[in-house]
Symmetry: C2
Subunit: 457 residues, 2 copies
């Protein structure tokens, strides 16, 4: 019996304990948007790590939520695998739509229900349990392991860059497993090699010092109209972004990336049905739609508010208006660059009266499809799940991956134990127990084989 077989046996024997560990963590609310339970949950994560046998440390910067760090030396001390996960969760609203209370960790029909069950406590605990299994069976894991457990992922990780700068040496590794992933509807393991960047801004326009009667409209500036005209200069009806130089640094996908798209499941009819749409934007369909989803940068109005928004009509001329926008950025568009271009563009078109507020941002990041680390994770996934891995060269979402990919220069692959019906960020978030246990075995397999991994292969 190989060491890995022993580990699998141990995992099967201890699956009830492992489920209990996850349920206990789900029971600790940790909503970064409101701050609810953050400190308590961070302490719980640190305690879990310490009990397993990891050396832990609480990392803080700028009064942000604690990042829980843990590490342990392995049999082979020349290889280090770093896990990026997060203990914070999305708010559970709308609570009335949950079948079971969101922080109950209730188990029904073989599924663990609760906010964070998949995103990201399920993944986080599956990684911890894999390491625990090696320590229990063999005294230590096969390679060095590091955990970086964020407490602000769901609010854009505003302080993680400062943490990475402050504790730079602590984060050295040979590869990084990112926080999310799972199987598709055909049971194939999906791996994500990159993320789009994002830049959130607010445009504010002001008119008179107070709202006035709309009879005065011939003389009084209207901030809502100012925003309409400014926005119209930013994106046209074909959704082409008009900000000067916006597309300058957009890189076309590599041929090997386009090849990956062929394998990616894209259930467009289900998506359209879910959203009540007859067709996607511009009638996009099939691989063209998938390519747009993954490779098109965007400029989205998240919110717009001006004047009277109650029932019926009111003849008022509002004195202030704002619009909230986000830009999804693709390699190699940078938030700083786009922010400066937006500022210049509005100035150039005469919108100096509009105030631009910058909110959070992250840079895009991706690991090349043909990087040895990608091949390594894909091979291990295929072994565990019995099906070839599906490679997403980039994901439509965003996150602080660039700090690990570019600042720390690590190859990064996102892989996890979730599935399409997990209801991530929605009511009735859940994780099937069998997928959770499979996830622990997947991570164990990666740890076991990582001693043989080489960038040179």
């Amino acid at each position: 019996m190989s060491q890995l077989e022993e580990i699998f046996l141990y995992i099967d024997k201890n699956s009830e304990n492992f489920v209990r560990e996850l349920v206990e963590l789900i029971k600790k609310p940790s909503v970064s948007a409101t701050g609810e339970g953050i400190e308590t949950c961070a302490e719980k994560v640190e305690r879990m790590m310490a009990e397993i046998g990891l050396e832990t440390k609480i990392l803080k910067a700028n009064n942000g939520n604690p990042v829980v760090y843990g590490e342990i030396k392995g049999e082979n001390q020349n290889k280090t695998l770093l896990f990026y996960d997060h203990y914070d969760v999305q708010p559970p609203d709308p609570i009335e739509e949950w079948t079971y209370p969101p922080f109950s960790g209730r188990i029904e029909n073989g599924k663990i229900y609760g906010r964070g069950a998949s995103d990201n406590k399920g993944n986080l605990v599956s990684r911890l349990m894999a390491v625990k299994s090696f320590i229990e069976v063999s005294g230590k894991p096969p390679v060095n392991v590091k955990f970086v457990i964020d407490g602000e992922e769901e609010i854009g990780s505003p302080n993680l860059e400062a943490i990475v700068n402050k504790y730079y040496e602590l984060f050295s590794a040979d590869g990084c497993i990112w926080e999310f992933g799972g199987i598709d509807r055909h049971g194939r393991p999906c791996l994500y090699l990159g993320l789009k960047g994002v830049l959130s801004v607010e445009l504010k326009a002001k008119g008179a010092s107070k709202d006035v009667h709309s009879a005065r409209a011939p003389l009084i500036p209207n901030p809502a109209w100012r925003l309409v005209w400014a926005l119209n200069k930013m994106k046209n009806e074909r959704n082409q972004i008009l900000i000067e130089g916006f597309y300058d640094n957009v890189k076309e996908p590599q041929p090997e990336e386009l090849k990956c798209l062929e394998e990616i499941p894209f259930e467009e009819e289900e998506d359209k049905k879910e959203l009540g749409l007859k067709e996607f934007l511009h009638g996009l369909t099939g691989k063209e739609a998938l390519k747009a989803l993954l490779y098109d940068p965007t400029c989205t109005i998240n919110g717009f508010l001006a004047g009277y928004t109650g029932k019926g009509s009111k003849t008022v001329l509002p004195n202030k208006a704002f619009v909230k926008l986000d830009f999804r950025l693709v390699p190699d568009q940078m938030p700083n660059e786009i922010f400066e271009k937006l500022k210049r563009h509005l100035e150039k078109h005469g919108f100096n009266d509009i105030e631009i507020i910058r909110y959070g941002s992250t840079e895009p990041a991706k690991t090349p499809v043909n990087h040895p680390f990608v091949r390594f994770i894909a091979q291990n996934a295929a072994k565990v799940y019995g099906k070839n891995a599906v490679l997403y060269p980039i994901s439509a979402g965003s996150g602080p991956m660039h700090l690990f990919r570019r600042r720390l220069n690590l190859p990064v692959v996102s892989a996890g134990c979730s599935y399409p019906e997990a209801n991530t960020h929605a009511p009735n978030e859940n994780l099937p127990i069998n997928l959770y246990i499979k996830g622990i075995k997947f991570i164990s397999t990666i740890l076991y084989n990582f001693k043989l991994y080489s960038e040179k292969i």
Copy 2:
């Protein structure tokens, strides 16, 4: 002593009673926006009329608020003067900004304070007291008098057209005094000969059946962007309205109207200071600004709502958005015409996905500057106030004047007893007692001389 001198004497002797009558009416809240006190106030107005000696009638249509009608035959039964006023008032909000309670009718420093003190209970009661004075002194007024007291003026008189259609014969007259007016800062009586029309609409756009994560923006339509693009097709940055045919029926002001503008006080520096503006739209100033205010049709965003409008940012793609707009219309633009043109324009530009909801509307109306009725009222105003009347050929505001001007074919002049510091529609609305008493004498003078009025003069 002439009859009018007797009347003036009677007014001076009874001024305390007349003030009490107004205060009692102010104490009856009658907020048409909420319905508060409407029925009770209508009954009170009818009782006041009946006590004076008028025949009264409650007019209703479409379940709207009652219109209180009153009439009395005069010495000269060949002439009839009709008064249009309203007993409903604006909501008193924000209540905390009132120095005295809004429905107290408190008297301080010679001013009567309260919601409706000027608009329109002050004017309404001043007219009633003028008629009462003639009845008390001489048994009847010099000419036939009719009162049409609206209960929905502050919400756009949605049912007055039905009332006019239903009771058409009741409203025959030789001239109509409209509900508002007063002196300017130099003590000159201001008369208003017309009103702009107004058309209120809402544009609604829909996207998916629910809000989605903004990562999906490359495929999912964004209703907020749809409205931005539609609006941009409706008005450009120079505030030119782009709806096809919008300006077709706009009539240039007549030379005699433009001459009137020379006399109209326009305190632009005070206006700018009040509103915290360095300059008016497009740098308009002086007579150009005044002309724009009175003669330019407008398209105003009253309100805009889409998506997330809380603090900070949220990466959401909203599934619905709406914008509320009003158009101020000048002679001879008609709301029905403009609504049809708006619909066609949006269709033509590919915005069939946008739903257009029509709210209230009124047509523009004006009585020619050189109409004998205008000259008649102006002469009487000059006699009473000792200064030449200022004629506004049209006002920037709106109201149901067209029903009387066009449907009933009456010459209409708006004249009243208010002043620039009356705080109409604002906290601390008030009316100085001396102006109120002067207003009663002004109306009495008009009634006294109206027997000699002829359209032929």
